[in-house]
């Protein structure tokens, strides 16, 4: 295998890398996908698996909407282990100011043909009786979904291999100038090397402004029918925006088993250990919104790293400093959602097709490469 040449080498077998490998192999390219772990075992396994349309910017909206449409098409082909559920997202408003945000989101989504429903407190309480009763209301985004992302990454990897892709296990130490080099001395060649290494992508492509943003999650024992939708506080947006300090937000997800996945936290912190102070704050926030959680047992808590960029948009496209390197990284908390669109955009770029949405906002170019962290 050493020295073998490919049409494309994808470095990283998380949800983004496996989506890329599956798409490129389907396009007829001779593909290798490499990682030191199996499919979907890094941030893909650590995260929530929420497929969500987000409107932090119009570029983010277009990418998440395009990708959600791709997921809804793919859903019928996913195995049961993917636990795909179109449960919808409830964005809950704690006060009148957040209720104004509900209305703004409703109009914006409607302008892009994404149907949503504004719920008054009484309707919200009937959909999710465990929520506290003094909320102002919520926005229901029916098309949002959840899934078990590691199982999906495994399926995408199987698709890639079925279309001729080579899965190569090994620790990559450097990429560039047409070569992917492994710690054990092996190397493989391609004129298209896709850096899909997520939170490790800046180690392989120095100068890339992608930072590790740590998050915590906790999961409960099984409480069937406790929760029915992904429920997120609208204050989440304020939390996700605050780049400078540690933050927590109420974000819960129903699993098929009846378990409740509880998030979320954001920190720039390199240590992988659970930080009990921020975990406590995160759980207290969850109990504030959903008081019944206080009597549920947590059976596990863990951490993971998001690959964060300064402007909250991923890097998708050619790296200006080396014409053999292409980026598919920096998806922060939206990698599960935007992985399929990332693969489609790069596929269009490689084949010279016009992409379904403009690629410019995601290109690693210009002021986007100036780190303002």
């Amino acid at each position: 295998m050493s020295g073998e040449s490919y049409d494309c080498i994808v470095v990283g077998s998380g949800i983004v890398g496996t989506a890329c490998a599956a798409k490129f192999a389907q396009d007829g390219m001779h593909v290798a996908i490499v990682d030191c772990l199996g499919a979907g075992l890094g941030a893909t396994a650590a995260g929530m698996g929420h497929i969500v349309v987000m409107d932090d910017s119009s570029a983010q909206f277009l990418l998440t909407k395009y990708s959600q449409d791709l997921w809804l098409d793919l859903a019928a082909r996913l195995p049961n282990s993917a636990e795909f559920q179109k449960c919808g997202t409830l964005w809950v408003a704690a006060d009148e100011e957040e209720m104004a945000e509900v209305e703004r989101k409703h109009s914006l989504y409607a302008n892009h043909q994404v149907p949503t429903t504004i719920l008054a407190i009484r309707e919200l309480a009937s959909l999710e009786p465990q929520l506290k009763s003094d909320l102002s209301g919520a926005l229901l985004v029916q098309s949002d979904a959840v899934m078990y992302a590691p199982a999906v990454a495994k399926t995408l990897m199987e698709d890639a291999v079925a279309n001729g892709a080579h899965w190569i296990e090994g620790e990559v130490t450097s990429i560039g100038h047409g070569s992917v080099d492994f710690r054990d001395g092996r190397s493989i060649k391609s004129q298209r090397i896709v850096n899909a290494a997520g939170e490790r992508s800046a180690e392989l492509t120095p100068g890339l402004p992608v930072r590790k943003r740590k998050g915590h999650l906790a999961i409960t024992d099984r409480y069937p029918n406790f929760l029915h939708h992904q429920v997120v506080e609208l204050g989440y947006l304020k939390s996700a925006h605050s780049v400078s300090s540690d933050s927590v937000a109420f974000n819960v997800q129903p699993r098929i088993t009846g378990q409740v996945l509880i998030g979320s936290s954001r920190q720039f912190d390199e240590s992988p250990e659970v930080d009990h102070a921020i975990l406590s704050r995160m759980l207290a926030r969850a109990v504030e919104y959903m008081p019944g959680l206080a009597s549920c047992s947590i059976i596990r808590s863990w951490t993971g790293y998001r690959a964060a960029t300064p402007d909250k948009l991923p890097f998708i496209g050619p790296w200006p400093e080396d014409d053999t390197i292409f980026l598919a990284t920096g998806h922060e908390g939206l990698g599960i959602t935007t992985s399929l669109a990332t693969a489609e955009l790069l596929s269009a770029f490689f084949s010279g097709r016009t992409p379904v949405i403009p690629m410019e906002p995601y290109l690693p170019a210009g002021t986007r490469l100036v780190s303002h962290a």
Partner: protein
Amino acid sequence: MPDLVTIAINGAEVRVQSGITVASAVLTVRSGFRRSVAGELRSPVCGMGVCFECRATVNGEPQQRTCQLICEEGMVIEVDE
């Protein structure tokens, strides 16, 4: 003659010696307590709050470790069938 208490296990009244754990009481009538995600019937292993295999709904509270609870008169226990 020891004191007895009456509890309900899946709707059936059961009289047991007072002072015993709910797990012990359930074991007098059945061995299965809960079903795993895969549907297997599970039974207690440790009897000391560690294995979590004795979980059941007690007085409406789900996922209680029954080996850590002492039977009280009128308790309502629900285990997986």
